[in-house]
Amino acid sequence: MNGAQDLGGMMGFGPVTPEPEELRFHAEWEKRALAITLATGAMGVWNIDTMRHTRESLPPAEYLSSSYYEIWTKALANQLLADGLVSREELRDGQAEAPARPVPRVLHAGEVARTLAAGTQYARPAEAPAAFAVGAAVRTRVFHPAHHTRLPRYARGKQGVVEAVRGVFVFPDTNAHRQGEHPQWLYTVRFTGPELWGEGADPSLSVSIDAWESYLEAA
């Protein structure tokens, strides 16, 4: 969706402010936001793409005026509401009013290290050959779906070169909406600065995205 998350190429946000790498959190609540986001994710009610879509579905003005942990917590509340796991009244009062709904899994403390170390595999076995090889000229499709997609606007309708064939990966555009994984070949596609940004663009710049096969056509 063309939401506020799709920031590549926008202007006016000001300079980037570096910070020391020892700084892990800026407030205690950020730690709690991290922990509840990861622990609820481990319930297995939604997947990573579902949650990304819920975050980018925040109204643009709200998205752009929220810190990233605020985006996380607002989206988490919306996801919990959408899945019927909590009610608005419960979120307002900080107290449970109805019994919990069954969830596939609850993360126990003893499982945290193993769960984080295992991660989640998104690669899937190939069931068909890749349509494009390294070096192939491709053009990204032009579309503006209302649903989740990982093809940023700045890279739509652009010609590039396949630089790597990464394997077959879960397709976020369907997975986000619980319509199945529909794995596809994934490619790293490189574009020149002038192809993306036109007149006056830096010719010594190139930018790549990772693009699923259905985002691409032969050029």
């Binding site: 799709d6 920031l7 590549g8 202007m11 946000f13 000001g14 300079p15 980037v16 402010t17 570096p18 790498e21 700084l23 892990r24 959190f25 407030a27 205690e28 609540w29 730690k31 709690r32 991290l34 922990a35 990861l38 622990a39 609820t40 990304r52 980018e56 990233y68 917590t73 988490l76 509340a77 919990l80 796991l85 909590v86 419960e90 979120l91 900080g94 107290q95 449970a96 919990a100 609850v106 993360l107 403390a109 290290a113 769960t115 170390a117 989640t120 595999q121 690669a123 940023p152 700045y154 990464r166 994934l186 790293t188 490189r190 993306l196 010594s204 710049l205 790549s208 990772d210 699923w212």
Partner: protein
Amino acid sequence: MHASDDGPHGHHHEHDHSELSDTALRVRALESVLVEKGYVEPDALDAIIETYETRIGPRNGARVVAKAWADPAFRDGLRRDATAAIASLGFGGRQGEHMVAVENTPEEHNLVVCTLCSCYPWPVLGLPPVWYKSAAYRSRAVIDPRGVLADFGVTLPEGTRLRVWDSTAEIRYLVLPMRPAGTEGWSEEALADLVTRDSMIGTGLARAPGGVAA
């Protein structure tokens, strides 16, 4: 310094200050409900925080880079299959399941961004810094990366090409910065001290032996 979420002496305007407190209260309410309903366990929450405060951070990545500088066979393995090479040092898992290492050269400098959200290689770099997730970085890294580098005080030599990797899928990128001159024969431990987090994202360079950026 940043203000604490509910301390009385923050540097923020009243408006910002009360918003931060609202957020802290909202997160507290959310956590209370989740715990009370049994969806999350308090001990598990503490274990997650402890992991990312003390065990998983950019010193992991610094060890990977230092080993790549010191050990050509490891470097080749890292370039060929970064996930496996990084796993051989004991790092891997959440948000680092599918790793790719990209190597800076005198001809080309690499910079990593996630314009669409905050994708970042957690097992080697830890949690992303605020600026990595900011609109300022995500918007400009792909259209004006030299301007972004200038914000970090980095100017590349004239003629160096700039290569930006937008992490739009589940591949996570680690930049292998150039090894500073004058470090021949250094131990991996000493080399790792020269590797900054920002140098592994591409917004910085490795430190020179004297302590300044190379």
